[in-house]
């Protein structure tokens, strides 16, 4: 009997312990639910699941008799589902926020990339411009260098040419100077000879009167122009005339036989007139002077030699005898 009593006691204790265990689990479940619904992090999410879990737990409390293990399990299931639903809602919100951030970042990135691209394009354009300027500058420098080289080459060539021209000019000038000197020497010689010839003029007695003959050296060749040197040295002639101031003077022009009679007559007349004009210029009264061209009609030598022709080309100044 005592054994039965002890067995019964043990069974009662076991049943009571089991019931207390269930009650503890239920209380733990309730505490867990309370902590869960007061968590601000999950407050906005899983509201319907929270309501289901709350209803399940309250049903356990309202249940008559001992709480069943299965019912507790299912109530915990509802609590877990509510937690997961809240976590899911929280994650959805976080994902949405991150998506928004990512979208905003992507937009800003696109804008920044566009700005960077524009900047790099500007940089590239600037670099290209600089390179083009550099190329142009180098081209201009080369061109200048080439022009300078050409200029120097031209200057060198020109210098050579100018030098050669100057040398030629100097040579020509030298020749000119030599020729001029020679001409001057010849002129001096001629003048001197002319002066000597004029000084050596001598008068001769003829039937018409005293005659002084001027050779053709007094005139330019084939011309009636009296040479300047002859004009300057006409003193001998003037002295000769001055010795007979009361007498008439006849000036006869003569030529050689070269050329036509008319030409020679004209030339002899012009030469006689030229001497007359010179004498008048020296102060001889023109009324005293008669100038006659005789042509080739009165030669004093033959006209077959140059020497004879030279003697025939003459002007005779005749101081006529008084009538």
């Amino acid at each position: 009997m005592i054994k039965h009593m002890m067995l019964l006691g043990l069974m009662l204790v076991a049943v009571d312990a089991l019931a207390q265990k269930k009650n503890l689990e239920l209380e733990a479940l309730r505490l867990e639910f309370d902590n869960f619904i007061t968590d601000d992090k999950y407050r906005p999410y899983g509201t319907s699941e929270k309501a289901q879990a709350k209803a399940a737990i309250e049903a356990l409390y309202n249940q008559r008799g001992k709480v069943k293990e299965h019912a507790v399990y299912m109530a915990r299931h509802h609590l877990n589902m509510a937690k997961m639903a809240a976590e899911s809602g929280y994650l959805d919100a976080q994902i949405a926020a991150e998506n928004d951030s990512l979208e905003a970042l992507n937009i800003e990135t696109l804008k920044t990339e566009a700005t960077v691209a524009r900047l790099e394009a500007d940089r590239a354009q600037l670099l290209l411009s600089l390179q083009e300027e550099e190329v142009e500058r180098e081209r201009l420098e080369k061109q200048r260098a080439l022009e300078l080289a050409n200029q120097k080459a031209n200057e060198a060539e020109m210098t050579q040419a100018e030098l050669a021209a100057a040398k030629e000019y100097a040579q020509a000038q030298k020749k000119v100077a030599e020729l001029a000197k020679q001409e001057a020497d010849l002129a001096f010689e001629e003048i001197d000879a002319l002066r000597k010839q004029l000084e050596s003029l001598a008068a001769r007695e003829t039937a018409d009167g005293l005659v002084m003959t001027l050779g053709d050296f007094v005139f330019d060749s084939a011309s009636a122009n009296i040479k300047q040197a002859a004009v300057n040295n006409f003193t001998k002639v003037l002295d000769f005339i001055d010795g007979y101031p009361d007498r008439k003077i006849r000036i006869e022009g003569h030529t050689d036989s070269s050329g036509s009679d008319a030409f020679n007559l004209n030339l002899s007349q012009q030469r006689a007139d030229a001497v007359k004009e010179l004498l008048v210029d020296y102060g001889i009264n023109t009324s005293r002077i008669e100038a006659i061209g005789m042509g080739e009609s009165l030669p004093v030598a033959d006209n077959f030699t140059e020497e004879g022709k030279a003697k025939n080309r003459r002007v005779d100044i005749i101081i006529l005898n008084q009538q």
Binding site: M1, H4, M5, L8, M11, L12, V15, G65, K66, K68, H70, Y73, M74, H77, N80, M81, M84, A85, E87, S88, L91, D92, Q94, I95, E98, N99, S101, L102, L105, N106, E108, T109, T112, E113, T115, V116, L119
Partner: protein, 135 residues
Amino acid sequence: MKPNIRLQTTKTGSLALILLILTGLSGCGSPGATKIDDDTFYQLEADVAAVANSAVADAAPLEIKGIQEKLQLAKKAKADRDRRTEAQLTEQIYADIQLAKKRAELKQKNNDLLDLRDQVSSAQVYLMELKERLQ
């Protein structure tokens, strides 16, 4: 002393009888919302296999392991013709499948969130580099 003992024995026996009745009643609770027929277990077995062969198994391996253990208990309850236990285990297994699926969904969302945060971080670094190039 004997009558006392007899009285005590009678009282003790009555108490034991009451306890036995209470114990029996506590063991014969409601079978749950799930109705059990001959095909219920096979449908449950197929549903568990489908979940175990899906991506959920990789995301929630502990939950799948518990489900498969409970499936064996349900199989035993079916064999024992313990319909109440089979019904409770069936309801719990479907609840566990629901939780496993939700766990997999949460894991996927966590991965998505981490991936997004990585993208945001990379985008911030890239944007910072771009802005430095602007300066």
